[in-house]
């Protein structure tokens, strides 16, 4: 990889230990992926923020980096293992809290913004079309590439932090035009909007590591958010293309060697397979974090109803969305906990619950593995019915 003189100096350690480490990471990964140079980024988003996922080693590494390093572009962080304010009501132990606070302090000392969300495009920085960023959260990466037209690879936690400190990332993968071409056509027909997370779940499975061209789904931004999150969870791909109605002309269709068609019955069958039981101790929505519009919609559906006793309820969102709709939040709080900074995937849910229902295709991948839950898929409206009367 070609480095500028300034980059060489950073690599030689002339700007301190942390920046040297950061540059070593960018250069090594650039070499591995065949990048020719580093390119400037307009923001970074760092994963590895929950004590549950990074452990004591992660804390020590962040503290080491914070000793003499700081971010040089706006940089946000993925969800933590707990709500920084309402951690006690979540049932988080003081031990876990103490470790989590060390992680937050370390990130703050590096100068990262206190945005702990998987939806940085709603809660922090929204990149413009064509802008390069270095984001780590898989669902945010997909949204940035596919919906916003920005460019990012799915960074690892340390590489995203390195990019935040240097303000650059290596130019490979989805930063380059030639790697952003769809290779498989996935055609949907008459899919009910509430099953769009399942359509994403299936798309990721069939796409594997190929960028899919998705047709036949006319999605709102919120639906794109849950669709893309599911793709990135079941597939090894950080981008999809879409054409809401139909591809332009026959040639566009014919250029795909692999075409997969799925209709409502395929998607419903998959949703049924993911239904699991119905005796839950937690109902969790907000993977990815709920937008303001989603919080308001749920609140309006629940308004005038009474909470049903039984399982706990988590509405997970970003602190920014939470602050933007206090009326909706106060309605939702009658039915459950409205949590910020965290979510059901990265919180130590296995210490609190064992059977969780969710409306998220992404959470259906991680709840059984990372969260050791018996997980059940239900549509948002089905869950709202369950928790209210």
């Amino acid at each position: 990889m070609h480095l500028t003189r300034a980059e060489e100096r950073t690599l030689a350690g002339e700007e301190g230990h942390s920046r040297q480490k950061a540059m070593e990471l960018l250069v090594a990964l650039g070499d591995i992926y065949g990048a020719e140079r580093l390119i400037p980024i307009s923001s970074a988003q760092v994963s590895g923020a929950s004590f549950k996922t990074i452990g004591d080693a992660g804390i020590r590494w962040l503290e080491e980096m914070g000793a003499d390093g700081s971010a040089s572009v706006p940089a946000m962080v993925n969800p933590l293992g707990m709500d920084m304010r309402r951690w006690r009501s979540m049932g988080i132990s003081p031990q876990f809290h103490a470790k989590q606070v060390r992680i937050v302090r370390a990130y703050q000392s590096i100068g990262l913004l206190p945005v702990y969300s998987c939806t940085p495009y709603l809660a922090g920085h929204r990149p413009r079309r064509g802008q390069h960023v270095a984001w780590a959260e898989s669902s945010a990466t997909v949204f940035a590439n596919s919906v916003l037209g920005a460019r990012t690879n799915r960074e690892g936690g340390p590489s995203a932090l390195a990019a935040a400190m240097i303000g650059k990332t290596a130019e490979y993968g989805l930063h380059l035009d030639e790697n952003r071409i769809p290779r498989v056509m996935v055609e949907f027909e008459s899919i009910p909007p509430e099953l769009i997370p399942i359509a994403g779940y299936l798309t990721g499975k069939v796409a594997g590591n190929r960028i899919p061209m998705v047709t036949g789904l006319c999605m709102t931004p919120d639906e794109h958010k849950s669709f893309g999150a599911a793709i990135a969870a079941t597939g090894a791909v950080s981008m999809y293309s879409f054409d809401a109605e139909r591809p332009k002309g026959r040639g566009a269709r014919g250029s795909y060697n692999d075409r997969i068609c799925m209709d409502a019955s395929d998607v419903k069958r998959c949703a049924e397979e993911l239904m699991g039981g119905s005796d839950w101790d937690l109902v969790a929505v907000g993977c990815p974090h709920c937008s303001v519009r989603e919080l308001r919609r749920m609140a309006s559906k629940l308004k005038g109803k009474k909470p049903k006793k039984g399982c706990d309820v988590w509405f997970c969102t970003s602190r920014k969305a939470y602050a933007a709709c206090p009326e909706a939040v106060s309605v939702l709080r009658r039915f459950g906990k409205v949590l910020c900074d965290t979510c059901m995937v990265v919180a130590p849910i296995e210490e609190l619950y064992s059977r969780t229902a969710t409306n998220s295709g992404k959470a259906m991948v991680y709840l059984p593995t990372l969260g050791r839950q018996k997980a059940s898929f239900r549509t948002t409206d089905q869950l709202l019915e369950v928790i209210s009367r």
Binding site: L29, I32, G48, G157
Partner: protein
């Protein structure tokens, strides 16, 4: 051996070789440094202060932090050598300050070999082990290729069938060596090589043989062998398996002829 720097630094020590891809999360115990992986041929050995050699990393991205934990526990390897680095182990090596080199054929390294690693320049020296660079030239006429039986006069692989082969001498490039050997051993003047593929290395006790394979098309089947061979035959590539050849010859021929 020359590889590529992933994380600079120097180290030396005894090789610990895993034959299969390794995950630091679950594959290595962070408190003892012992390898837990069942299938890698090194189960139960500690990575501590070893030159840890494995083809490439696998598994969860948290594996990078598992390597850092190993370092904090004082059980980290002295250096890491991979055939091809992937981001998890590369990241782990950098954050843990473990010198690391990739693009080295780890299959030629044996447990207990003493290695000197200069990761900054990407060099790995196997102490007490010689690396010998040889060319092997497959001569083709029509659909047949030339096999030669090595005579009793030669130093290695007596009686085995081989292509035209020999050492690359000091100051000589591999293609120069190839043409020289063809002229010496079979009396044919070779023009340009039809194909040249990546070199292959294999281990035989204290020697690592690095073979540089070439394919040449020749216009004649009339050749004159020198003292190094006592018999020759033109055979179709599918027949090579019937001959007692030098190691890896069939695979080299298959790769050279693939698409040609």
């Amino acid at each position: 051996m020359r590889g590529r720097r992933i994380k600079g630094g120097s180290a030396q020590g005894k090789a610990l070789v895993c034959s299969t891809p390794l995950s630091f999360l679950g594959g290595v115990d962070a408190s003892s440094g012992k390898i837990m992986d069942r299938d890698c041929g090194a189960r139960g050995r500690s990575v501590h202060n070893s030159i840890l050699c494995f083809p490439y990393g696998r598994g969860s991205t948290v594996g990078s932090y598992a390597m850092y934990q190993l370092k904090l526990n004082g059980k980290a390897p002295a250096a890491i050598i991979n055939r091809s680095a992937e981001p998890i182990v590369a990241t782990g090596a950098i954050i843990s300050d473990i010198p690391m080199v990739d693009e080295v054929d780890t299959s030629v390294i044996e447990n207990g070999d003493y290695l000197v690693v200069e990761a900054s320049s990407g060099t790995v020296e196997l102490k007490g082990v010689n690396e010998r660079h040889v060319v092997t030239c497959i001569l083709r006429h029509g659909t047949k290729v030339l096999l030669l039986r090595r005579s009793n006069e030669v130093g290695s692989y007596k009686g085995h069938w081989a292509g035209v082969s020999g050492f690359i001498e000091e100051g000589e490039t591999d293609i120069e060596a190839a043409k020289r050997e063809i002229a010496e051993e079979v009396g044919v003047k070779a023009r340009t090589a039809r194909r040249h593929i990546d070199s292959k290395s294999f281990r035989n006790s204290d020697t690592v043989w690095t073979v540089h394979p070439f394919l040449f098309d020749v216009k004649t089947t009339r050749i004159s062998t020198d003292w190094e061979h006592d018999e020759h035959r033109w055979v179709s590539p599918s027949e090579i398996c019937k001959y007692d050849t030098v190691p890896g010859l069939e695979a080299v021929v298959t790769e050279l002829l693939d698409g040609f």
